[in-house]
């Protein structure tokens, strides 16, 4: 089994495959690219959250004959973005269901004339009552989607929850809320599109999932596979924000290209990107938990609601992951989770690193500290008492077949952070200090890959190809957007084939050149796709041994010589592999029972937080992230993923607020959507434990999303420790801390400093 072998390239800090281009300014992001005869595109968007479009008028001061104008009527195929349920229009037809919904498109060679023209389109609406919160949607007084405003629901049941309450020593309830969160990739969404009768549609753009875009374009343009081509350009950050939105933008640019006859470039500016594109689903999660006198969890009843925005888009899968992460890494024999995604008249929410798990884990881990407080138990001991171990079953009755080392991770995290020592010290120092400090922990897991039968449904195909000039190309549709896809997959192929790292490159992320190995989401790249690349490489070696007399432990030259021989006799030197589920997996979509995920990464995060009683602001002073993630393929990239995810989690907890006014993002500028700067982030200490997972690429499990799950609850638990007050909603801004803390103090009286 390759996972236990010593490796030369996997596990080594090789330089990032596309690193030099990025460092010398040569990397080509979509806005760096230009075309002959390029026209620019702009979008005219709804200014109300819900209503009928009564009229569209074009101000005569503009010379409209110079412009290409596209509406829903110009869509040759299906006017819907192809996701799980295709209910989101590509362009609004007759009605709008959220502010900033795209209604029509304009193209012109001059970008400034274009902006003037966009301002000169006058749209009149008959407004309809807008639903702008989960609570309003639940009331169902106004139905805005389907029969009941419900996008999707899940029910997960285990044991017999109702039989437990009467005999429980403690019953603890809590309600937890998380706000929307914006990805704030530093590169805005952008796309270039070309159309010709001969080639169909070709798009270049900032995106995560070429085949998702391909699927929508085929449908919107009613074109066959080979008349749609999607090419990813160097992508400046994504975090899930470029998982589904690019399908809309590509359709828009494509429609303008088709109608105008010119190549079209559409690059959003920051204000448009912030207002009009996807964000993380807000959530409201209610817990009711029965605990025995020793702190053993007896029953959990969880009511989980997320705000999906105006269309279904990805809400059902976000809801699924939230449901499956709602109960934490704990043993509990009786569970009931009722989860629902509600429609509102806001910009549809979408994928964002964690995909429902950060919301669910925030609630669970905050609630654990509330249980500790209510029962007089120590938050650490309470968790330990209930941790899953190998041989236990989780909320979906999945047997933990792999070792689960939460206890060891917890020991390490407590030691590294000096958790107990600091709590003792702070208890003494806080009463005499203007700055109150606290420590908080979070324990969690994150399932790698698509849920249940999702990976089978994706049916990913990936492989390797050897060129005549002795380069190996990795054939995948998985993309680089900073997280290291290019590097880890070429590492895996180089290792498995016995070559040098420099021998292997990625095939261009171009649907004309790569198979569909699934989207780059769900922390599946290293585990699922990595394993496919590994298998394909081994399969290639077997092929060469069988047909080209390749020796058993070949040198580089021998390998390439065998490839030459094979090519001469049989043609292309290529090996592809399809996804195979690990054996013995069963998953029931109806009852939500079974193996929800092939593998889990496990983590304990600790936050040290200072609350300033003068300004009511909380800052993270120090942070420890301890996790078991299977094989670490690249120590520097892996560390970078954890650190980046923690920084985003800190933003999620304390800085980042989406301010909606009538369903429109009012703070849609970088000056007032606040993320932490280099001056704000704490030192982030990262430690990995590795238990190789036999079905992951060289033993790897997923790592990309895990680090966004833990920071928010750890931080708010630390604030509870510091301030002695429970805060259950994020983002937690100083104004929120003030509202609670200062309400207890008389205004004129000097505060204790």
């Amino acid at each position: 089994m390759s996972t236990s072998a010593t490796t030369r390239i996997v596990g080594a800090p090789v330089p990032r495959k596309e690193g030099i281009d990025k460092l010398v300014g040569r990397a080509q992001y979509v806005d760096d690219i230009t075309r002959e005869d390029l026209w620019h595109g702009a979008t005219v968007r709804s200014t109300i959250p819900r209503g009928i479009i009564r009229s569209i008028a074009f101000d005569p001061r503009i010379e409209w004959s110079e412009f290409t104008i596209v509406t829903a009527a110009d869509v040759p195929g299906n006017n819907h973005i192809q996701l799980i349920v295709a209910d989101q229009p590509c362009l609004a037809e007759g009605r709008v269901n959220h502010c900033d919904e795209p209604i029509l498109l304009l193209a012109h060679p001059d970008r400034h004339k274009l902006l003037e023209a966009a301002d000169a389109v006058h749209i009149e609406y008959d407004p309809l009552p807008a639903i702008l919160s989960i609570e309003e949607s639940e009331k169902q007084r106004e139905i805005i989607l389907g029969e009941d405003n419900s996008i999707k629901s899940f029910a997960l049941e285990k044991g017999d929850v109702d039989s437990v309450w009467a005999r429980a020593a403690h019953i603890v309830e809590g309600e937890y809320r998380t706000g929307a969160q914006e990805h704030l990739y530093i590169e805005n969404n952008g796309m270039i599109a070309e159309w010709s009768a001969e080639h169909g549609i070709t798009v270049w753009g900032s995106l995560q999932c070429p085949y998702y875009v391909h699927k929508t374009l085929r449908s919107v343009f009613d074109l066959p596979d080979d008349k749609v081509r999607v090419i990813q350009t160097e992508t400046g950050g994504a975090f899930g924000g470029k998982e589904d939105y690019p399908s809309t933008l590509a359709s828009h640019a494509g429609l303008l290209a088709m109608k105008s006859g010119h190549p079209i470039k559409m690059i959003y500016d920051r204000m448009e990107d912030l207002a009009a594109t996807t964000k993380r689903h807000p959530s409201r999660i209610r817990h009711r938990t029965a605990v025995d006198k020793d702190g053993k969890l007896l029953a959990m009843e969880i009511n989980l609601a997320i705000d999906g925005g105006a269309y279904s888009t990805l809400s059902s899968t976000v809801l699924s992951r939230a449901t499956l992460h709602a109960c934490g890494p704990y043993v509990c024999p009786n569970i009931r989770v009722r989860a629902r995604a509600w429609a509102t008249n806001t910009v549809p929410y979408g994928a964002f690193r964690g995909f429902g798990a950060p919301q669910a884990i925030f609630a669970m881990e905050r609630h654990m500290d509330e249980i500790a407080a209510a029962t007089g138990l120590d938050p650490v001991g309470l968790r330990r008492r209930n941790f899953l171990h190998e041989g236990d079953r989780n909320a979906t009755d999945q047997l933990m077949r792999e070792p689960v080392i939460l206890d060891d991770l917890l020991d390490r995290a407590l030691k590294e952070s000096d958790y107990y020592g600091k709590r003792v010290r702070y208890a003494q120092e806080n009463p005499k200090s203007a700055v109150r400090r606290g420590m908080g922990i979070a324990a969690f897991y994150h399932g790698s890959g698509f849920t249940g039968s999702g990976e089978l449904y994706l049916n990913s195909l990936a492989g390797v190809h050897v060129t005549p000039d002795r380069k190996v190309r990795v054939l995948v549709s998985n993309t680089e957007f900073g997280q290291g896809t290019n590097t880890i997959l070429t590492q895996i192929a180089a290792e498995a084939l016995g070559l040098d790292f420099s021998d292997v490159m990625m095939a261009p992320a171009d649907t004309a050149q790569i198979p569909n190995s699934g989207p780059t989401v769900a922390s599946r790249t290293s585990m699922v796709v990595g394993r496919l690349v590994e298998r394909a490489s081994l399969q290639l070696l077997a092929l060469l041994r069988e047909h080209a007399a390749l020796a058993d432990h070949p040198t580089r030259d021998e390998f390439f010589a065998a490839c030459d021989r094979y090519r001469a006799a049989h043609g292309a030197v290529e090996s592809l592999c399809r996804y195979e589920a690990p054996p013995g997996i069963y998953w029931d979509d109806a009852t939500y029972h079974g193996e929800a995920y092939g593998a889990y990464a496990w983590a304990i995060y600790v936050a040290q937080v200072a609350v300033d009683t003068v300004t009511y602001s909380a800052e993270v002073e120090d942070f420890w992230a301890v996790q078991e993630v299977g094989r670490v393929l690249h120590p520097v990239l892996a560390k970078g993923q954890i650190e980046g995810g923690v920084a985003q989690g800190i933003g999620y907890a304390l800085y980042e607020k989406v301010v909606l006014q009538n369903g429109h993002m009012a703070n849609n500028q970088m000056t007032n959507y606040i993320i932490p700067t280099a001056a704000d982030v704490p030192p982030i200490h990262v430690h990995f434990e590795q238990i190789p997972f036999r079905y992951g690429g060289f033993g790897a499990k997923g790592i990309g999303e895990l680090p966004h799950d833990g920071p928010a609850p750890a931080i708010l638990n630390a604030i509870r420790d510091a301030a002695g007050v429970a805060f259950n909603a994020i983002p937690l801004l100083p104004e929120d801390l003030f509202a609670t803390l200062a309400a207890r103090e008389p205004v004129e009286e000097p505060v204790a400093l």
Binding site: H112, T677, V747, A752
Partner: protein, 292 residues
């Protein structure tokens, strides 16, 4: 980027005299632009109404920091980096050096000018509280000559100043008399860098035998423009620093502060934090009694 390059004309006459003559012959037509850290943001957002702009960047007459025995003078074209590099500023007007370090980022400090900061007139202006607490004077210049105004009278309302249509802010003069004053400045923002002040408080005070002989308090974001807190100063003047003084001062600042709710923060938060900042200042002045 929503600004239209064709729709705006920028000229650089190249000397202060030439600029002043331009403003005199066509008052209200030409908008001066120095470092652009304010106007260029509006431009990119498609909100720059000024179509004709005259550049002040590079006018050496404006970009000076000099001193006499009595005063230090900062040219309106001095950047915040210039302030941070100035020895006199760091030694005698540390609140100003501090404020300069809190302007945006290093890149913005290199271009943002003190003049621009004041003329823009935001109630959240970073340099204003310190300048008010240092009793700064403003010198305005035009083709007609120059005139002086206490900085405390420069702002007349939200983003309105006493600048006439043909005038430029020429220099800020600070009296060199704060060596023995206790000094305080704290800015409360949304994060540690690149943050517009939710509230800021500056204070200078002369304490003799435990009595407050002189005190100047100034705040950002507690009024439509940066403001001295005269009534709160009155409460403190001539008093010892006791718990009663602090209570009275807190009550005074809570009454005098007139902040608003806006996208960045709330009035209630700003008022309470202003009172806490004042308490922090008084505590540093020797309010040992405030310890519980």
């Amino acid at each position: 980027m929503r600004g239209n390059a064709e729709a705006h004309e920028l000229i650089a006459p190249g000397s202060l005299t030439a600029v002043l003559n331009l403003l005199a012959t066509e008052p209200g037509v030409w908008t001066p632009i120095a470092g652009g850290t304010e106007l260029m943001v509006a431009y990119a957002a498609g909100r720059l109404n000024a179509t004709r702009l005259v550049s002040l960047w590079g006018l050496s007459e404006l970009r000076v920091i000099r001193a006499t025995d009595q005063h230090m003078s900062i040219g309106a074209g001095a950047t915040f980096t210039d302030l941070r590099k100035s020895a006199i500023v760091s030694e005698e007007f540390p609140l100003l050096a501090q404020a300069a370090s809190w302007i945006g980022s290093i890149a913005n400090q290199t271009r943002a000018t003190v003049g621009g900061n004041l003329v823009n007139g935001s109630p959240a202006a970073d340099s204003s509280p310190a300048l008010l607490a240092y009793d700064a004077g403003i010198e305005l210049i035009s083709a007609r000559g120059s005139r002086r105004v206490p900085y405390s009278e420069f702002h007349t309302g939200y983003k309105r100043t006493v600048l006439a249509a043909d005038e430029l802010l020429y220099a800020i003069h600070l009296p060199r008399r704060f060596a023995r004053h206790r000094q305080y400045l704290r800015k409360v923002g949304t994060r540690r860098a690149m943050a517009i002040a939710k509230v800021a408080l500056a204070g200078t005070a002369l304490i003799e035998s435990g009595t407050i002989r002189e005190v100047r308090l100034a705040a950002a974001s507690l009024a439509p423009s940066p403001t001295r807190l005269y009534r709160t100063e009155e409460i403190l003047l001539g008093r010892q620093i006791t718990k009663e003084t602090l209570r009275a001062a807190r009550a005074a600042i809570l009454a005098e502060a007139l902040p608003i709710d806006d996208i960045r923060s709330t009035a209630a938060y700003r008022r309470r934090v202003a009172a806490n900042l004042l308490q922090e200042f008084l505590f540093q002045l020797g309010g040992e009694e405030f310890r519980p």
